[in-house]
């Protein structure tokens, strides 16, 4: 018997008993749909993590947070700038941050005020769209100039009937001190640490004065060579260890890659567990097919006898039943993929995330469901093929 003919015959048989086919494919269908939906969900959450982590800074960035524990609790701006002497460090931007009240006319908003140095622009890759940046003379002279984020500009000026985009040159007060806005920052969206557009940047020395703080709270760093990240982190930790007299709790060094790795590993562990559950459901689906096929062999014993009496060989019958099982599981797989797609779209809408179904997962799910058909179809097919024609014909 020819292969194509066998396929045709099996497909016909599968289609001619629709209820049985649908019932037996249900397990596989649900299993595959689950796999697709879960993978899409996992993909969505890892995309989200990647996006958030990348908003923390480019891959070559590093940050040191001063936690202020132990005997030495602060690090001065100059000490922070010394980290630039560590090899592979390209830029250092120490930041001191506090919450202040900005006021323009009658509008007052609570906003994060960051004291920065001129290096901030380059290290954080956060330029102005209008006006000028804070420069070294501003730091030296404690001038009261400010850069303003777009959202804060909107909050502050819109209610006063002013155009937020024309913020440069306006005078505002921060905690009672008058500042001149010299630059409007580019919009950067929000990250894990909150909105980047709701802030005011002022010279670090001015910030220390008006908020009465010493030292810096965060040091942003960039490296020349991303490959040497791990070594650079170690070197910085060594410098800080010295500065804080061996108190490791006083500071924390974070790099973006590590943050991504940590977040993704959580994600991956969860995804893997979900996939295991889905595989179990596929196997259960396969057992469902096996059951139906076994019943079908009994039910069709006479048909098998007739086919054998007409010259069907053992392998013809085996092939027929195997192909039927694979057709059922493959069809279930295909429909499951469709259902999974729909589910992933719905999940995406409900959870408001961007779900994604990778094409290799689709192929894998389909191949696996066909394999389930082969594995679980073999036992019933073999049973059918092994029937003796005399007994099979007598069966009714």
């Amino acid at each position: 018997m020819k292969l194509t003919q066998g396929l045709k015959m099996a497909v016909k048989s599968v289609l001619s008993n629709k209820l049985r086919t649908i019932l037996s494919m249900l397990g596989i269908l649900i299993g595959v749909a689950t796999v697709i939906a879960l993978v899409a969900m996992g993909k969505a959450s890892s995309n989200e993590v990647a996006e958030q982590v990348s908003s923390l800074g480019s891959p070559n960035s590093l940050s040191v947070t001063i936690l202020g524990r132990g005997t030495v609790t602060t690090l001065s701006v100059d000490e922070a700038n010394e980290l630039g002497d560590v090899s592979n460090i390209a830029g250092v931007a120490p930041v001191t941050s506090a919450t202040g009240y900005a006021k323009y006319g009658k509008t007052e908003v609570s906003v994060t005020v960051e004291g920065i140095t001129a290096a901030y622009e380059e290290v954080k890759d956060f330029p102005v769209q209008d006006g000028r940046y804070i420069a070294s003379p501003d730091i030296k002279n404690n001038t009261k100039v400010a850069l303003i984020g777009v959202d804060t500009a909107t909050d502050l000026f819109e209610d006063e009937g002013e155009d937020p985009s024309a913020a440069v040159g306006k005078k505002i007060t921060i905690n009672g001190y008058q500042f001149t806005i010299v630059g409007l920052l580019e919009s950067q969206g929000s990250s894990l640490t909150g909105s980047n557009d709701e802030k005011i940047l002022i010279p670090v020395t001015t910030a220390q004065k008006i908020f009465q703080t010493k030292g810096v709270s965060t040091i942003n760093l960039t490296v020349t060579d991303t490959e040497l990240m791990a070594r650079t982190v170690t070197a910085i930790e060594a410098v800080l260890y010295e500065k804080f007299r061996g108190n490791e709790n006083a500071y924390r060094v974070l790099n973006q890659e590590e943050a991504m790795k940590t977040l993704n590993s959580v994600n991956e562990t969860m995804n893997r567990q979900l996939i295991y559950v889905a595989i179990i459901s596929l196997i259960v689906g396969g057992i469902g097919i096996m059951n139906i096929m076994l019943v079908s062999v009994t039910e069709r014993t006479r048909e098998i006898g007739i086919r054998k009496s007409l010259g069907a060989k053992k392998r013809d019958i085996l092939f027929q039943f195997l192909v039927e099982a694979v057709c059922i599981s493959g069809l279930g797989g295909a429909l499951g993929i469709g259902l999974g797609y729909i589910a992933s779209v719905i999940i995406g809408v409900v959870m408001q995330t961007e779900t994604e179904v990778p094409i290799d997962t689709v192929w894998l799910a389909f191949a696996f469901s066909a394999l389930v058909g082969v594995v679980f179809g073999y036992l019933p097919a073999n049973k059918a093929a092994g029937l003796r024609p005399v007994d099979a014909l007598r069966h009714d």
Binding site: M1, Q5, K308, S309, G311, P389
Partner: protein, 255 residues
């Protein structure tokens, strides 16, 4: 018809069939010997339990003899593998069963194509031969009907067409009229006679002596022993010389 070999179509010598049931040996066929030439129309008659079904299964290569030799067109059947038996059934035998044994989900044409599929013929030739066979049994108009759309007689004719489609040297009919009323039964038998006249070898198994009378030669099986029934044919077409009283039986000892 396939007369390419000089060997008799069926040559059985001392075929014995026994089953082991609860460690007890039950012998169903006792040293049966039978020879059927090409072109014969043989009836095997016996009451139920006589072993005629077992004999039919062996003749039809559905089952193997326990002992003895069975040659089909000169090919030894005893001891053959399942695959070889399937091939022989496909090439040498056209089955006509009492219960028609059509596949209900297939049309008449598809049923007739089935043995040709297992022979591995290409689709076009299959279709042509199946249509041809259906034309021969007078069902050219009902090719695309399913079993439940056909009367009993028509179903049996589809079964005959299916048996003929492979152009086998032998038609093996097991109670072909058993499920039919006497009128359609007669029609089916007439058709078989007609086929035999064109040279088709037919082996017919029945319990009905009336049906057996239509055959040119009759053997009787009783308790697993085969005896030749020698008689004159009612139409005077003399095939066998022998006692003319039509009621004698003698043990077949041809082999």
């Amino acid at each position: 018809m396939s007369m390419h070999t000089n060997a008799p179509l069926i040559e059985m010598s001392n075929v014995t069939k026994f089953y082991m049931m609860a460690r007890e040996k039950t012998t169903v066929l006792h040293e049966v010997s039978l020879k059927v030439a090409h072109g014969d129309f043989l009836a095997i008659v016996g009451p139920s339990g006589s072993g005629k079904s077992t004999l039919m299964n062996i003749i039809g290569c559905l089952d193997l003899p326990s002992e003895g030799s069975y040659k089909l067109e000169g090919m030894e059947v005893t001891g053959q593998s399942d695959n070889k038996l399937a091939e022989m059934r496909n090439k040498k035998i056209g089955f006509i069963f009492q219960g028609y044994h059509l596949l209900p989900k297939l049309t008449a044409l598809e049923n007739c194509e089935l043995p040709l599929i297992y022979r591995g013929l290409p689709g076009k030739e299959r279709r042509m031969r199946a249509m041809d066979a259906l034309e021969r049994v007078g069902l050219g108009q009902r090719m695309h009907h399913r079993q439940n759309e056909l009367s009993g007689g028509q179903q049996q004719r589809v079964a005959i067409a299916r048996a003929l489609a492979t152009n086998p040297p032998m038609l093996l009919a097991d109670e072909p009229t058993g499920a039919l009323d006497s009128k359609t039964g007669m029609e089916v038998l007439s058709m078989m006679e007609e086929l035999n006249r064109t040279g088709q070898t037919i082996v017919l198994i029945t319990h009905d002596m009336e049906v057996a009378k239509r055959a040119s030669r009759t053997v009787i099986i009783r308790d697993g022993v085969l005896t030749e029934h020698v008689r004159e044919r009612r139409d005077g077409d003399e095939t066998y010389t022998g006692p003319q009283d039509g009621s004698q039986e003698r043990i077949v000892q041809q082999a």
